[in-house]
Amino acid sequence: MAAGIVVAGASLGGLRAAEHLRAAGWTGRITVVGEEPHMPYNRPPLSKEVLSGKAPFASLAFTPKPATADVEWRLGTRITAARLDERTVTLDDGSLLPYDGLVVATGMRPRRLRCPGPLAGRHTVRTLDDARRLRDELTRPGVRVVVVGAGFIGCEVAATAVALGVAEVTVVDPLPLPMAGPLGELLGRALLKRHEERGVRFVLGAGVAGFHGDERVTGVELSDGTVLAADVVVESVGSQANTEWLEGNGLDLSDGVLTDESLRVGGRPEVVAVGDVARFPNARYDGVPRRVEHWSIPTDTAKHAAKTLVGAGPGPFAPLPTFWSDQHDFRLQSFGAPALGLADVRVLDGDPAGDVLVGYHADDRLVGVVALGGQPAARLAARYRAHLLQQPALTA
């Protein structure tokens, strides 16, 4: 066992994997390989407190735990390939790193728009360096921002831009309502109204056909021919999994890396996956493997996968997903899997115009709750969390 465990990816999932391997009793070597030059840091503030300048970059680092003092960090190093049969990964300097156990924690990167036009002035928000660059542009006086994509990150960036004093903030999306894919129409409408009242303009039902400008972007051309003037564009059109390095091993990489109910990859006892990149079945629901891009998942999966890797037989993984999103002066707080209950959405408490608690049902069973508003709504959601934990599993 001299080679030890290699953790691929040095963000929240990789960090928690190292910590939970120690907690599960692994005393051998742990090497964490990460492409970014930074020690693991917290991403959610990037689109909020970091962009608005409320939190300095330095405040994002996770506090190191004493049990992981002897973990080896290979930062600024990309893994380019893996040979699972030989138990090695290849690093970007061409060297091979052998392992006895492998944790896949390489997460996601932003999807980019592939349409004609210049690249300069176009941003994504995934890393510290991304947030830094965008902040520098948003603080220029008189800047006009077009955000492409009305999902969580797009809406958070739009809200932060308004808070920064940016006078022209427009969000474009081919869908008719913001965040309606994961949350449904009822909240989609409520969120649209709140954003518009606070100064965000929406152009919905329109895709992007291309970008105007020579050196740098000056406008966004929509599918109907309209051109929106823009000095800065933020592309928040979803993400794609960093799994290319795993190709050639016969794995299912169609959307992240497929795992079994113990987070094992490719049926191998020595390979597990954690965090955003893992597509796992959740025994709490219908057994269909899904990726979950919530902040709570790297920690939940790492705890479970570490036990799997050291042979502790933790049993089927069944987390209760949870996420939050802070936009303007309100917070969304979710427990469970609302996206599985979009066909039967009910207001459980309050009013969509104020604080509201919305319930999502499948087979007449509560599968998720989302609170929108301030503290009272969050407290109600917390009360329903216990109820969600007691619901029987959905049948496939």
Partner: protein, 62 residues
Amino acid sequence: MKVVVDMNKCQDHGQCVFAAPDVFTMDDDGHLLYVPDPDDALRDEVEEAADVCPLQAIRIEG
């Protein structure tokens, strides 16, 4: 064991309350209250609470 919460960072998400209900609670206004010197037997719970805090505002000393 000593627990310190950076109240400048805390945004009352309440995740710590689920992880360690013996140490963290919410008052009637939804603001965090906590026991600063919990029993050592609660260490696992408190560590979990620190891990699940979205703001990483919980520190364990000793």
